[in-house]
């Protein structure tokens, strides 16, 4: 019991430092993830950035699944290749240029 109590005390003291270390580690992990996956976000990601990525991912997904592409080409009455090109082009700023000032 005594031992547990002491452990508790020590852990309180260490707690802050651990959290600091942990924050640092989390930060590093996030950076690492972000270099690998562009779409990864964080608490400061703006809505515009996020939605742009959502659009890009969606477009990439349509292109990546032949059946989806087929579906769109039938619906737009365009050749598949052209739809593909359109989608690829659309990936540049899918939601327009970033806004000057934005809510979060």
């Amino acid at each position: 019991m005594q031992f547990n109590f002491i452990c508790c005390l020590i852990s309180r003291v260490l707690h802050n430092r651990i959290i600091m270390a942990d924050k640092l580690r989390a930060q590093q992990q996030l950076e690492q993830l972000q270099t690998r996956y562009v779409g990864v976000g964080h608490a400061d990601t703006t809505k515009h950035e996020w939605v742009s990525n959502v659009h890009r991912d969606s477009l990439a997904s349509y292109i990546g699944h032949p059946a989806m592409l087929e579906h769109f080409s039938v619906a737009f009455n365009e050749p598949r290749e052209r739809v593909r090109m359109q989608f690829v082009d659309k990936m540049i700023q899918p939601c327009g240029p970033p806004k000057e000032k934005e809510e979060i």
């Binding site: 989390a26 996956y37 976000g41 964080h42 990601t45 991912d57 349509y62 990546g64 579906h71 979060i104």
Partner: protein
């Protein structure tokens, strides 16, 4: 020396006149016990006024209690061990260190150590005059200085000065050295040596009275002290300040303080490392401002390049490399140029190494013109010698990175091969050797120009020069094409064979090395080696004398093994086999080791019947005759027997009787070795069909289980285990039902080797032949096994856990489970964790339904450890049973529900792990409903901050995402991504990110519809 008289002289504690103030800025009053009060007063008058006399009487017993405040780094271990003057002074009570500590008196205060009347008696009255001190002379009495001076001792009056000075000094130091320096804060430690450099900080002078330079210096000192002795956070900020302000401080101020510190002899690795780090950083910042200090820095750092400690060398290199980058090549060359033909060999050596570092930092091509000039210097041979040495060091330092510049480097030093100075020639061939070694196996074309002088050289030179040339050739031959290598080997071999007889040890080593290198080249044929090399090689190197020196021994063995690769086993073993019966033990060992390596590499198929007989005979002889037991003979025996395989059969009875005889030996190591030998040859014995012999061995080993030396017992158990393994449980002699009860008490043995071997043996029996032993015996073993869960070695714990599984399978899980569940109540965490694992294993081997009810029932015990243990067991259980989990999901759901809403963090954390394993186990098996329920319970926990807890929670949610699909989990996530509070956004983004990484494509259909026009995914509105 009458004790009684001495006793009169001994210092009375009552005489200690002053209570000491513990402030740094106050000069310490000096007490000299054993002198009169008047004496003391006069002494003190000479001191600075700031001394506050505060006389206080102390009893001797108080003194003892008043232990000085020390940092633990400063404690002198000898203090307690040798109380000062107890024996020498004949005191009843030993004088406590703290009593004598006050007695330190600096000589500078004058006359305190030797009074005038004594000096009069000591020195002749004629020929000496007594000088008056100069009028304005005031002794310097800052405490920092005082500490550096030779301390005077207590009890000096009678001249009985038998104290250990160090003890007294350190006792005083320990008291006076604080860990708290004004303006610095609490340090980790403060060493005596630090006083020399940092004492200034503690002299108590007012900052306002100091000049700007002095202030700057103090600032730097403070920062340095923080870096060197401070705690990690302090160090970090101080280092940062030093770096940021480096240019303001200026190179002069910084290096004037750092360099002397770095030269301190007592500097420890850690401190050195930190100072090197400081220099590294400030070099980077100061850039070309360091130029005036290049030479000073080099003088300090160069010796580090030849330090014994690897890390010191690396750090030295790092500084010089950074210095070179900061100061620039031209400046570095200008600075080091004078040292190149320095008279002192040591300076030239370190300079050459420093130059090599500069070359690797700034690139070899930049330095090459300079090197060329140095190597062809007409002025002095020392310059040429250093130039060549630089190139040798470049090769050593850069390894295969020299390849692009190989031609240039070789051409640079090629002319020096024919230098008139022998030393230059020698170092040139060594440098060429180093270049060839670094370049191997490429770059032979670069050496074309030096081949001829080399070959002329080995004909012309003798002695040391020849050795260097041979060494160089030894490295160049492996680079050549096979046919050239063959040709050159034949050329050089003549000389090598001639040098086989050289009495010079160094030459012998080089010759052996070169033979080894030549033999391993492709072009050299076996026939050539057999006819030309082997006879003289064996004649000159396989002699007793070679076995005596450790390094020769190694070289001979390695070379012989290399030769064997070409000429075959039989040829070599044939020649060595007689060595095994030699009278010199070291020589026999050399033979055994060589045979072991050769046979291990090439097998024993080449060995003829006659040779095989001699081999076994020899090795048995060597084994029996050894007086120093080590692994060489054991390994050799094992390897040879295993290589011969079935062919060992005729000799087995002889071998076994030797083993049996030696098992009975008085010496523990002999017994251990013979038991180990059984382990090695058990497989071969079985292959030879020697079942009877194995049985006999088994019985004998069984009888030796009473062995008291744990090392030996471990080996015996190991031998038994190997026999059980090859013979099989049912055939085992003695029968298992006799063997196992003998093992039960041995399980209690705490020795690691014994534990490991017993648990292995018991586990094997439990696995294969549990039916031979009664259930009651197995239960007994279960109890013993619980203790094993505390073992330090992971292997033992793992084996114990597996054994639980086997036993449970054999006698049914109920009893074992009860034992294990009770063990969940123990205090020790490791034991509980292992028990939890064991429960998991039992559940896996005996189907979960036999275990779960009891386990879940145990959760009702209102005790933290037990409940957590149950959860932990569940987590292991579900991890092990995998897909079987789907049948138990509904059964454990209420329990998990309870655990996930417990106030205790650990409950939730462990429950989250259970959820994770269940979820991963039943992906696609239709348990989504429960999983969503669990998700609802887990979700609120994402705001936990404790790293372990949050990691587990996130793990749990991720596992559920895999089970129920990303869409459902994402529905929980959207709400938090753009929440106004950062504290909320953060964990939600973490969830989003992990989902995104794992299944970005699957998320596409589930992204929410956003109403703003530019954000809508219009294409999704399309219908066909």
């Amino acid at each position: 020396m009458a004790p009684s008289r001495i006793k009169e002289e001994s210092p009375e504690p009552d005489l200690k006149p002053r209570a000491r103030k513990r402030r740094w800025d106050v000069v310490e009053p000096v007490a000299i016990p054993g002198k009169t009060e008047e004496d003391l007063e006069s002494k003190l008058e000479a001191k600075i006024e700031s001394v506050e006399p505060a006389p206080k009487k102390k009893s001797r017993w108080d003194e003892v209690e008043a232990t000085p405040r020390k940092s633990r780094w400063d404690q002198a271990p000898s203090l307690e061990a040798t109380p000062i003057g107890s024996a020498a002074l004949g005191m009843q009570t030993p004088l406590h260190p703290s009593a004598s500590a006050g007695g330190i008196l600096p000589m500078a205060t004058g006359g305190g150590f030797l009074p005038d009347e004594e000096l009069d008696r000591l020195l002749p009255s004629e020929g000496y005059i007594i000088l008056e001190p100069p009028a304005g002379y005031i002794p310097i009495v800052t405490p920092a200085r005082k500490l550096m001076q030779t301390p005077a001792q207590t009890g000096s009056g009678g001249g009985y000065m038998m104290f250990d000075e160090n003890t007294a000094v350190s006792a005083g130091m320990a008291k006076q050295i604080p860990t708290n320096i004004p303006g610095v804060g609490e340090l980790q430690y403060f060493k005596q040596e630090d006083m020399k450099y940092f004492g200034k900080l503690a002299d108590g002078s007012q900052e306002s009275e100091l000049g700007i330079d002095e202030l700057k210096q103090r600032k730097i000192l403070r920062l340095l002290l923080k870096v060197k002795n401070g705690t990690p956070p302090m160090r970090k900020t101080a280092l940062r300040q030093l770096t940021d302000n480096a240019r303001q401080f200026g190179a002069t101020a910084l290096f004037d303080l750092i360099l002397p510190l770095l030269m301190e002899r007592t500097l420890e690795d850690q401190e050195r490392h930190l100072l090197v780090k400081v220099i590294d950083r400030i070099l980077y910042k100061l850039d070309d401002m360091v130029r005036p200090f290049t030479h000073k820095i080099l003088v300090v750092v160069e010796p580090m390049l030849i330090d014994e400690d690897y890390y010191a060398r690396v750090e030295g290199r790092e500084i010089i490399a950074n210095l070179a980058k900061a100061a620039g090549l031209a400046h570095m060359i200008a600075t080091m140029r004078p040292d190149i033909d320095h008279v002192d060999e040591y300076v030239r050596n370190t300079t050459s190494r420093a130059f090599a570092v500069v070359a690797s930092a700034l690139g070899v091509p930049a330095l090459l013109p300079f090197l060329k000039a140095v190597c062809s210097s007409k002025k002095s041979w020392q310059a040429r010698h250093t130039g060549v040495k630089i190139i040798q060091q470049i090769a050593v330092l850069m390894g295969c990175a020299v390849l692009p510049h190989l031609k240039g480097l070789v051409d640079c030093i090629a002319p020096c091969l024919t230098d008139e100075q022998a030393k230059v020639r020698t170092v040139t061939s060594l440098a060429l050797g180093a270049l060839a070694e670094a370049a191997a196996p490429y770059g032979i074309e670069s050496f074309d120009s030096v081949l001829e002088p080399l070959w002329l050289g080995i004909r012309r030179h003798r002695g040391k020069g020849l050795a260097a040339f041979l060494k160089c050739i030894g490295f160049i031959i492996p680079l050549m094409d096979p046919e050239y290598a063959n040709y050159y080997t034949k050329e050089v071999m003549v000389i090598l064979i001639r040098e086989f007889n050289s009495p010079d040890e160094e030459m012998k080593k080089i010759v052996l090395r070169v033979v080894q290198q030549c033999a391993s080249t492709e072009g050299v044929t076996a026939q050539y080696l057999r006819e030309e090399v082997l006879p003289s090689f064996f004649k000159s190197f396989w002699v007793r004398r070679m076995a005596l020196d450790r390094r020769n021994y190694r070289q001979v063995v390695d070379t012989t093994v290399e030769l064997a690769q070409k000429v075959g086993v039989a040829e070599i073993v044939e020649r060595i086999v007689d060595v095994l019966k030699d009278e010199s033990e070291a020589y026999r060992k050399m033979g055994v080791e060589t045979i072991e390596k050769v046979v291990a590499a090439l097998g024993a198929t080449d060995i003829s019947e006659r040779l095989e007989e001699r081999l076994i005979d020899g090795i048995l002889f060597a084994f029996q005759e050894q007086t120093i037991e080590d692994n060489i003979l054991l390994n050799g025996f094992g390897t040879v027997v295993n290589a011969l395989g079935l062919r060992t059969k005729p000799y087995l009875s002889q071998i076994v009787s030797t083993i049996l005889w030696r098992l009975n030996n008085k010496s523990a190591t002999v017994r251990q070795q013979s038991a180990d030998l059984i382990t090695r040859i058990a497989v071969v014995m079985n292959n030879c069909g020697e079942d009877v012999l194995m049985g006999k061995l088994g019985v004998v080993l069984y009888e030796y289980l009473g062995e008291e030396y744990p090392e030996v017992l471990g080996s015996i158990l190991g031998a038994l285990r190997s026999i059980v393994t090859v013979v099989g449980i049912s055939e085992m002699q003695p029968p298992i039902r006799d063997l196992l009860p003998r093992l039960t008490p041995i399980l209690r043995n705490r020795h690691e080797k014994v534990q490991e071997n017993t648990i292995d043996l018991v586990g094997r029996i439990a696995d294969r032949g549990a039916e031979y032993v009664s259930a009651r015996e197995w239960m007994r073993i279960c109890f013993e096994l619980l203790d094993m869960l505390k073992a330090h070695k992971k292997g033992i714990r793992r084996a114990a856990n597996n054994t639980f599984g086997y036993i449970a399978k054999a006698i049914g899980p109920q009893d074992v489970l009860v034992t294990l569940l009770n063990n969940l109540r123990v205090q020790e965490r490791q034991s509980r964790v292992c028990t939890a694992v064991a429960i998991g294993i039992v559940a896996e081997t005996c189907a979960p339904f036999t275990v779960l009810p009891a386990l879940m029932n145990e959760y009702r015990v209102p005790e933290l450890n037990v409940q957590n243990g149950v959860l932990k067991s569940l987590s292991f259980l579900f991890e092990y049973i995998g897909e079987m989990a789907k049948d138990y999901v509904y059964a454990v759901a209420p329990l998990l529900e309870d655990a996930l809403i417990d106030r205790d963090q650990v409950h939730r954390q462990t429950a989250a792990t259970v959820v994770k394993h269940i979820a991963l186990g039943c992906i696609g098996l239709g348990c989504e409903d429960t999983m969503v329920h669990m998700l609802n319970l887990l979700m609120p926990n994402i705001f936990e901050t404790s790293p372990h807890v949050i990691d587990r929670i996130i793990d749990g949610i991720e596992a559920i995402r895999n089970c129920v699909g990303v869409g459902i989990v994402m529905n929980y996530t959207w709400a938090g991504l753009f929440h106004p509070a950062r504290k909320v956004r953060q964990p939600y983004w973490r969830l989003y990110d992990s989902a995104y990484v794992q299944s970005a494509d699957a998320m596409v259909p589930y992204y929410p519809q956003i109403d703003e026009d530019e954000y809508r995914r219009n294409e999704l509105d399309v219908w066909v």
